[in-house]
């Protein structure tokens, strides 16, 4: 609230109305009312600026007026509204901060008056071309930040009075508040829209994975740079990642958008995870210094039950094993993305048995003003295990770890590969694209039953043939799905594929190879073709690998 050089205080509307701007004569009071007119608040942003400029010209009997706003990312002032010198806006006049008249007002954050321009240095030749002789400029300030500059000019030499200076500052305050409100509202609208689009909404669609997420920006009206994502990168391999872009606002959100796209693109191209991160790093370096980002990139291998992790300067992932033991993965040395194009990243591999949960988060979850980071991490480790699923876990973490005083955004994503039941019952849409997903689930189920790779392959192929047939012949109305049931008992696998169509061995496409393959790969194959559908039962004895110590 404190203003720098001139010692005034700037605040909301009520404060301005009572400020002793000048001797209380009726003229000034009338002027004040015109500037603080509540009706102005209902004008759209641009029209409000035009209207304020017009009124200030009338009140101060000025020949020209201009309002310039500071660029969001560069030290430049851009003309936004003008009167008498409309070309300023039309020509898109830009004034570097610190240079010329407006540039000096902004840089020095103080009122500047020039009685005669004849020998003043001006960066904007427009002012002189227009024949302006005298200028009065004030900074637009909100909470000590410079938003821009408002100046008025006279075509005849003129000495502005203290009351006129105060009045112009009052208009500047009014404009600054309006701009700030408009920009906050715009940022909030953008923040919500961006975060809606940037943070994936449909993570539940990742097959074979439970995902829970939480996102809490530090303040409602500011864009955060925290981000998470989860997607399948190869059959049975699922990427779960969290990143934290340094800074806030639109710039951070833009970096976040690029990061998300780049990460997905490089990952789907099939690069190893360390290479994916290295490529994203080089891209971030090219985007400039605003693109510094910490990232933890994990790939869950659902079948091999491992977790591959690449860390770029991010807090360590937490893994809760199926027994409920929680431990942080060891920190790796990778530096944040966008720091150096030469940075190298390495993947570490950790066991991730089915039923484990990996928790990725941004530092807002574990950092608070009141405690050291170690305490926050320990609280996370102690709080994560507990009753209920991962949604309950996330709720618990947020309730116990995120304080009222948080200064930073919080992003949290927990992912768990649930153990598959025995017997297993699944239902699938009759769409060829689900064949790969059926195989994923079946492979994992077989691995969890300790079936060896070669035998598992045979069972998966046989089941795949039965499923493909169920899908190919899904021509009846209402026949949208088929079912796969699997049970293992005493070393015998029994799989049943049920659909509501008639069994037909494909002729044109597969040349009748499906059924002979099933018979060759399994011990027993039964096809029951009934009026209400087809049931294919596949059975095979599997030799379980010897357990340790049993020879």
């Amino acid at each position: 609230m404190t203003r720098g050089s001139d010692g005034h205080t700037s605040a909301g509307m009520p404060d301005m109305a009572v400020r002793p701007a000048s001797p209380a004569d009726g003229q000034v009071l009338g002027a004040l009312q015109r500037i603080t007119d509540a009706a102005l608040a209902y004008l759209p942003h641009d029209r409000l600026l035009d209207e304020l400029i017009a009124r200030v010209c009338e009140i101060l009997e000025a020949d020209t007026a201009a309002l310039l706003l500071l660029d969001e990312s560069r030290p430049l002032l851009r003309a936004r509204a003008a009167r008498g010198i409309e070309e300023e806006v039309e020509r898109g006049v830009v004034v570097p901060l610190g240079e010329g008249f407006a540039g000096r007002v902004a840089a020095e954050r103080r009122t500047i008056a020039i009685e005669d321009l004849a020998d003043a240095e001006l960066v904007n030749p427009l002012l002189r071309e227009q024949g302006i002789r005298s200028l009065l400029g004030v900074p637009l300030l909100v909470e000590g930040r410079v938003l821009g500059v408002l100046h008025v000019g006279s075509l005849t030499p003129r000495r502005f009075t203290a009351a006129e200076r105060d009045l112009l500052q009052l208009v500047a305050d009014r404009a600054a508040l309006a701009i700030e409100h408009a920009s906050l509202a715009e940022q909030q609208r953008l923040a919500e829209a961006l975060q809606r689009h940037l943070l994936p909404q449909d993570l539940h669609a990742v097959p074979g994975l439970e995902v829970a997420t939480r996102y809490m920006p530090a303040s409602r009206d500011r864009l955060g740079g925290d981000w998470y994502d989860a997607f399948e990168v190869a059959p049975g391999e699922i990427v779960v990642a969290v990143g934290d872009v340094v800074g806030h606002g639109l710039a951070a959100a833009a970096v976040m958008a690029q990061l998300r796209t780049a990460l997905r693109a490089y990952a789907v191209e099939g690069h190893p995870e360390a290479e994916v991160v290295a490529r994203v790093n080089r891209l971030m370096c090219e985007l400039g210094p605003d693109a510094t980002t910490t990232l933890v990139y994990t790939v869950i291998e659902t079948q091999r039950q491992r977790l591959r992790v690449v860390n770029a300067g991010h807090p360590p992932p937490l893994v809760v094993d199926p027994e409920g033991e929680a431990a942080f993965l060891p920190l790796q040395g990778g530096i944040p993305l966008g720091t150096s194009p030469l940075a190298s990243y390495r993947a570490a591999v950790h066991p991730f048995p089915t039923g484990s949960t990996v928790v990725l988060y941004t530092d807002g979850l574990v950092e608070s003003r009141a405690e050291p980071l170690d305490r926050g991490l320990e609280r996370l480790r102690a709080t994560a295990p507990g009753a209920g699923g991962i949604e309950t876990m996330c709720t618990r973490l947020v309730r116990r770890l995120v304080g009222e005083d948080r200064a930073d955004d919080v992003a949290l994503i927990a992912a768990r590969v649930p153990p598959l039941a025995n017997p297993l019952s699944t239902r699938w849409p009759t769409d060829r694209d689900v064949l790969a997903d059926v195989r994923q689930v079946l492979r994992r189920w077989l691995r969890e039953r300790s079936v060896g790779d070669d035998e598992a392959y045979d069972v998966v192929v046989a089941c795949g043939e039965a499923c493909a047939n169920a899908i190919e012949h899904a021509y009846r109305p209402g026949q949208h799905s088929f079912e796969v049931h699997a049970v293992e008992q005493d070393g015998r696998i029994r799989i049943e594929v049920r659909d509501r169509g008639r069994w037909r061995e494909a002729r044109g496409v597969n040349r009748g190879r499906g059924l002979p393959m099933m018979r060759a790969l399994m011990d027993a194959v039964v096809v029951e073709d009934a009026e209400d559908g087809t049931r294919v039962v596949l059975e095979r004895d599997v030799s379980r690998p010897a357990r340790a110590g049993s020879g």
């Binding site: 190869a234 059959p235 060829r432 195989r439 045979d458 597969n510 040349r511 190879r513 060759a520």
Partner: protein
């Protein structure tokens, strides 16, 4: 979403060596076939289809290989398949009798030599 299978091409003179990386089933066999035919063109004398990186091949994929064998034969182009010894897909290929229709070699070099 993810691509189930990729065709990685390598040319050795008139021979196209195409590695089938990934999984082939009823959802992508036709697409894989189109990509192979496009890569092969008329100028190639032979196709070496490298199934070493193929992690899954069902009857739709096997039928594709049979069909390619017929098509190439009709155009007097040779087809040679690479299947490493002990690969899971070797058993399914054996069941379908593909070895009777197409020459199968355990590695790319042997296959290229046979195709040349």
């Amino acid at each position: 979403m993810t691509e189930l299978a990729r065709v990685v091409e390598d040319r050795r003179g008139g021979i196209l060596v195409a590695a089938l990386d990934g999984e082939v089933d009823a959802s992508n066999a036709a697409d894989v076939g189109d990509r192979l035919r496009l890569a092969l063109g008329n100028a190639s004398t032979a196709l070496v289809l490298d199934l070493s990186p193929t992690r899954y091949l069902d009857s739709a994929g096997i039928s594709l290989v049979f069909r390619l064998a017929e098509e190439l034969d009709a155009r007097q182009q040779r087809l040679v398949i690479v299947v490493p010894a002990g690969a899971p897909i070797a058993r399914t290929l054996q069941i379908t009798g593909l070895g009777g229709a197409v020459a199968i070699h355990p590695d790319v070099e042997a296959a290229v030599a046979a195709a040349g």
